[in-house]
Structure formats: C-alpha cells, structure tokens
C-alpha cells in the first residue's frame, strides 16, 4: 500500500509541473507584460519611480526568456507563497483568493456527496429493474440533466424561485448575515441558499453517474459469481448488495477522477450566474480586466487542488479494492 502511495504521488509530479507551465502560459498570453500594465495603471496616480520599476523588473525576471520568468514565478510561489500582485486591487494575490477557493471546494465537495447520494440508489434501481417505468424515468432525467448547461439551469431556477416563490437568490447568505458571526441562524440561512447551487452544479454529474452506475451494474449482474451467490441460497437483495453492487461500486467511486474537475468547472460558471462569493466571479473579472496574476493563481490552485482530490480518491479506491492494492 505504501509503495502504491509513493508511486501515485510520483505520477502526480509531471502533472503538477505541466499545470503550472500551462498556467504561466496563460498569464503570459495577453500582449504586453505585467509591468506595462502596472505602470499604465499607476501612472494616473503619479506613476512609479524608475527604482521601483527596476526592482520589480528584476523580481519577475521580465524581459528575460520564458523559462527564467517561469522559474522566478514558480519559486516565488513555492518558497515564499508569493503569488504576485493583483494590479486591479493592488493587493497581493495571496490575500484575496483563499476564502473564495475555500467556498468553491466546499460547494464542489458537498455537490459530490449530493450526487452520490442520488446516483447510487437510482443507478442500482435502474439496472435491476431494467426497462421498467422507473428506469425510463431515470434515463429521461439523465438525458435532460446532460443536455441542460449548468448556467442555463441556474438561470431557470433563479427565475422560478423569483417568479413563483418571490425569493431573491444570489449569494450564499442573506445580506443581513454577510458580516455576522457564525451563529445557528446564519448556518440555517446558509443552508437555505446553498442548496440551489449544489442542485444546479450536481444535476449533470448526477445524470452522468446514474448512467455509469447503471452500466457498471448491468455489466456485473449477469456474471457467474452472481449465479454462484444465487445458487448458495442468498436472497436477491442480499446477494445484490454483497456482490455485484460491491464490485460495481469501485469504478463508480473512481469517477471522482473526472467528476471533481467537472464539478469545479460547473461551480465556477454557476457562481458567476448566481453571484456567489467563490472563485468564479473573481476569475471571470480578473480575466476580463486582464489581471493576470490573480487569474493565473486561481487557475493554478483550482487545478492543483483538483489533482490532489483525484489523488485522494485513487488512494481511497485502492483501500477498498484489493485488486488495485496488490498490483
């Protein structure tokens, strides 16, 4: 198990490096370098003196080859936790992002639990009662869930909530609780708001997982070992849960690997629509005004945390599936 862990972590390293390079490429994509933008921005406020300019130029390695700049940037992050400056807010990026990243991942993880709680029983039901009315209903829901883009669903739900329930949606807590300490009432209020992004982000994932669980289980349901279990005299429910479901669960859990990235993606776009205090709106704004260090840092950390989440799910999987562990 320990060797497995080491190997998985080792495999992660190139991914991490690649992510950081791609991120830095994105930072570099807009024309002009960072200092030009900064200088242009600050010139209205009296400009920067040439000494500071030089110091900054040195710090970021501007004007030097790509990899030198990359090296300075990445070592700054790794060694000092310095993500650069957000020129729009004129604050270190590190001061701005953690809250928002926290919320993004909190919502993504809650969504993950939500879609599992939904997809598992429905998927099992659909496979066992193949071609029943319930199966068709689940399949239909699945297709709809996959066909409606997240942001569209968010808009529709907000419209319905406003039009028919008179509820104004947006944000994670009501305005009066924004700066309030975390009391019981605030949690209740949070819950009243947060279910909607969770449902919206989760729908397409749940739809996909239902289909995956159904297909996995259908693959297993007619295997010889199920017949063996039946021939032992187990009841259908008992054998279903102990054998095929147990086996089908593994590929199901391994979907974290790609479901987590899509949830994070979905959360970001839904957050823009619902105006949640998470990564989405901040990233979009940063990109639109080309506040590239902020945008780059957000992309980098979101991606890295996702990769980490995938790693954890792989380890969990190895823990429950002996076949993987012993490889």
């Amino acid at each position: 198990m320990f060797a497995f862990l080491l190997r998985r972590i080792f495999y992660m390293i190139p991914t991490v490096i690649l992510v950081s390079i791609v991120t830095f490429l994105i930072i570099q994509l807009p024309p002009g370098d960072y200092l030009d933008t900064l200088a242009a921005e600050l010139s209205d406020q009296g400009g920067l003196d040439s000494g500071t300019m030089e110091a900054l130029r040195e710090q970021y390695g501007l004007g030097q080859p790509f990899f030198v700049q990359y090296w300075k940037w990445i070592t700054g992050i790794v060694m000092q936790g310095d993500f650069g400056l957000s020129f729009e807010k004129n604050l270190p990026v590190g001061d701005l992002i953690w809250d928002r990243l926290g919320w993004t991942f909190a919502i993504s993880l809650m969504t993950l639990l939500f879609i599992w709680a939904i997809a598992l029983p429905i998927g099992i039901y659909s496979a066992v009662r193949k071609y029943s009315f319930g199966d068709y209903a689940a399949t239909f829901f699945g297709f709809i869930g996959l066909a409606v883009p997240n942001f569209l669903l968010a808009l529709v739900m907000m419209y319905v909530a406003f039009k028919y329930f008179g509820q104004s949606v947006g944000g994670l807590v009501s305005p009066e609780y924004l700066d309030a300490p975390w009391t019981w009432e605030k949690y209740v209020d949070l819950f009243k708001h947060i279910w909607m992004p969770i449902v919206v982000v989760g729908t397409s994932g749940a739809a996909a997982l239902i289909r995956i669980m159904r297909a996995n289980l259908l693959d297993e349901l007619y295997r010889p070992y199920v017949v063996t279990a039946r021939a032992k005299g187990m009841s259908e429910f008992q054998l279903l849960m102990r054998y095929p479901v147990r086996v089908a669960l593994n590929p199901f859990l391994s979907t974290i690997g790609w479901i987590l990235p899509t949830l994070v993606s979905g959360e970001i776009i839904v957050a823009v629509v619902m105006n949640l205090p998470t990564t989405g709106p901040m990233l979009l704004r940063a990109l639109l005004v080309q506040d590239m260090y902020l945008a780059g840092s957000l992309i980098l950390i979101v991606s890295l945390l996702t990769v980490l989440g995938t790693l954890i799910s792989d380890l969990l999987l190895a823990w429950i599936d002996p076949r993987i562990r012993y490889q």
Binding site: P14, L29, L146, P149, L152, M158, I299, V307
Partner: protein, 382 residues
C-alpha cells in the same frame, strides 16, 4: 461407419442450412439502429437542424441585425388562424396580432399589450430582406413571414434593441451547430492519430500520450478555457475568433476519443486478421487503414456524435460568459448572454426560454442519436 469429412454429403443434410440469413455489418447496425425509435427520430431532427443552419436566411423573417426602436423587449406575438370582423363572423386569415405600448398605471412603466386593430397577415414565400442563399444565390423570398415587408413579426419576441429573437436563433444555429462539427472534426484528427499511435505502437510513446490525456482530464476545463479564451483580443475579426474558440473547445474533446481508439487498437493488435495482414507484407499504415479502421469505424462515429453536444455546450458556456464568441456574431451562446441577469429575465423571459429550449433540444437529439448509434454498433448489446 464412415465418419470422415470427405464422405459425400447425403440427402438428409440438405436442410441443415436453415440458418437465418446473414446481413452485412452495416445493414445489421442500421437494422438495430432503426429499432431504437428515439434515436431514429433524433436522426431526422438533427438533420432538420443542420438544414436550418444551411438555409438560415430563407427561414428567417427579419434581418438579424436590424434594430427597432419601437419594440425593445417586445413579447412574442400570438399567431392566429381566424379574424373576427365587426359583424362577428369569423374569417380564415393566417395572421399575427400586433402590439402596442401602453402605460401600466400600477408599475408606472410602459408595457406591451395586444393591439386588436393591428392585424399582420402572414403568408408563405413572402418577400423580405435581400440575402444570398448558401452564399451564392441572391434572393429575397423567405419561407414565411408578414405579407407586407414593412410589417414586423416577432414569433419569439424581441431583445433589448428590438431585434427578432426567432430570426436570431435560426441564424445562431449555423454558428453553434457548426462549431460542434468543426470542433469534432479537429478532435477526431487529434484523437484518432494520437490514440492510434498510442495503441498501435505502445511502449514509451503510449506512456507519454496516456500521461498527457490524464493530465488534461484531471484539471477543470472551464477555468482553463476561460484563461485561454480571455486572451483572444476583442478586436479580432469574427471568423478568426470563431476558429480559435473552436480550437480551444476541441482541445478537450479529443481525449475520450483517443482513449477509445487506443483501446480498440490494443485489442485488435492481437487479432489474427491483423497479424495475417502484416505477414502479407502490408505496411503499418496500410494495416491500419485497410484492416483496423474499418473494424471500429462504427464506434468512432458513435463517439463523435456524442462529442458534438459537448462542444456545443462548451461554446455556449464560453460565449455566455462573454469570453467566447463576441457580438455581432450570433450564436446560441451570445443570445443567452442577453439573458444574463435576473432582472432582464423577469422582464423578458423569452430571451432565456427560446434559445435555451433550442440548445436543450439540439443537445438532447444529438445525445439520443449518439446513444442509439453506440448501442447499434455494439455487437454484444442486447
């Protein structure tokens, strides 16, 4: 007893070949596909949408860029078959009910109400704005619309500038549906070549390509897309933006295809007929093209069909956020961008409903189609 296989076949073995008639692989797939009714219907629907994309102008009722200061956020007009004249007798006349602005006392703002005096007769093959059919044939006939070219009809309502949503959706079809196709074509080229190389040669090449795929799949796509798309300068010509957005969108789609192709190659590599072809002295490329590709092309077609809706959704999302296609390019995504905030939606729900429905229907149909194809192509499915 003579029981060798050279013994003459006696009379009684005549009816051993009562075996059901065998069909070729493609006709088998087609037969199975047709049994999948929803998929079969979706095939027609998708065909219809692509025709709509092709002959867009002919189907529109108004020029999509023409604004109308008197109809901002005009609601959809109702279409009726009969008119009632003063005497109360009804008469057959296909027409739309005109709108007029009226001051709403309660809300203290002007809203549209139906104008009973304004009847806009509708007809087929009516005269309208000039366009070139398929970019070649100059025409001004439109399939249907107001009989009087000066009348404006809004079947699905109007947007902020009084432009006709119906016509804009029809024209948006061209951009959105073609991004799906072009993106899939790109994905196909990348996916099949990388997947094929990976599966055919194996070894370290395979390893690198697999790592690359894992990498792309393990990072969230939306922020990455956003980062790339945001770098497209706003001043670029629409066609170039269109192309770059397509490339960005297809950068993700190829991975699943590559995996599938690789898997197929890996299993086919060991098949006897491939070995036999190699022993016959065919080159790698010939083996791939003549023997391997035909044996899984049905699967590829199914996966490609399933990739199209993903691309469409991706384009829509990016354009909706304002970092994909930019106005004046009209796509379903840029149309939805008009419905970005809740206040607009409440004032003019059709801005959300009309393009939204269109997207969902197109994606649904493509998904059904792809699913049906995949089931039909899978020899083991029952």
């Amino acid at each position: 007893m003579t029981l060798t296989d050279t013994s003459p076949v006696s009379d009684n073995s005549k009816d051993t070949n009562l075996v059901p008639e065998l069909l070729g692989p493609w006709s088998l797939i087609w037969r199975k596909f047709k049994r999948h009714r929803l998929a079969y219907f979706s095939l027609w629907f998708v065909g219809f949408i692509y025709l709509m994309a092709l002959f867009g102008e002919f189907l529109t009722t108004q020029d999509i860029n023409e604004t109308n200061r008197r109809a901002p956020f005009a609601p959809p007009m109702s279409v009726q078959l009969f008119t009632n004249d003063e005497s109360g007798t009804s008469q057959f006349l296909l027409h739309a009910r005109g709108l007029k602005l009226e001051l709403n006392e309660e809300e203290r703002r002007r809203t549209f109400v139906e104008d009973p005096d304004k009847i806009i007769p509708l007809g087929f093959f009516v005269e309208g704005y000039d366009y070139k059919l398929l970019g070649l044939i100059p025409l001004n006939t439109h399939l249907f619309g107001a009989k009087n070219p000066r009348d404006r009809v809004y079947f699905f309502g109007a947007d902020r500038l009084g432009r006709d949503i119906y016509s804009r959706i029809v024209m948006g079809t061209r951009v959105s549906m073609s991004i799906g196709l072009v993106g899939v074509a790109l994905s196909m080229v990348i996916g099949i070549s990388l997947g094929g190389i990976s599966g055919y040669y194996g070894g370290w090449i395979d390893n690198i390509i697999q790592r690359l795929i894992e990498f792309i799949r393990s990072i969230p796509t939306i922020p990455l897309w956003m980062g790339l798309a945001a770098a497209i300068p706003l001043g670029w010509p629409p066609l170039r933006t269109y192309f770059v957005v397509t490339v960005i969108v297809s950068m993700i789609g190829w991975t699943s295809l590559a995996r599938e192709v690789r898997g197929k190659f890996l299993s086919l590599r060991k098949e006897d007929f491939v070995t036999a072809a190699r022993l016959d002295g065919l080159t790698d490329w010939e083996v791939i093209r003549r023997h391997m590709v035909p044996s899984f092309s049905s699967h590829i077609i199914a996966s490609l069909t399933l990739a199209v809706p993903l691309m469409i959704l991706a384009e829509t999302s990016l354009s909706f956020l304002g970092i994909g296609l930019q106005p004046p390019t009209v796509s379903w995504g840029t149309l939805l961008k008009e419905a970005q905030n809740i206040r607009t939606i409440i004032q003019a729900p059709w801005l959300l409903i009309a393009p939204g429905t269109m997207i969902v229907m197109a994606v649904l149909a493509l998904n059904f189609l792809g699913d049906g194809l995949r089931d039909a192509a899978d020899p083991n499915a029952h």
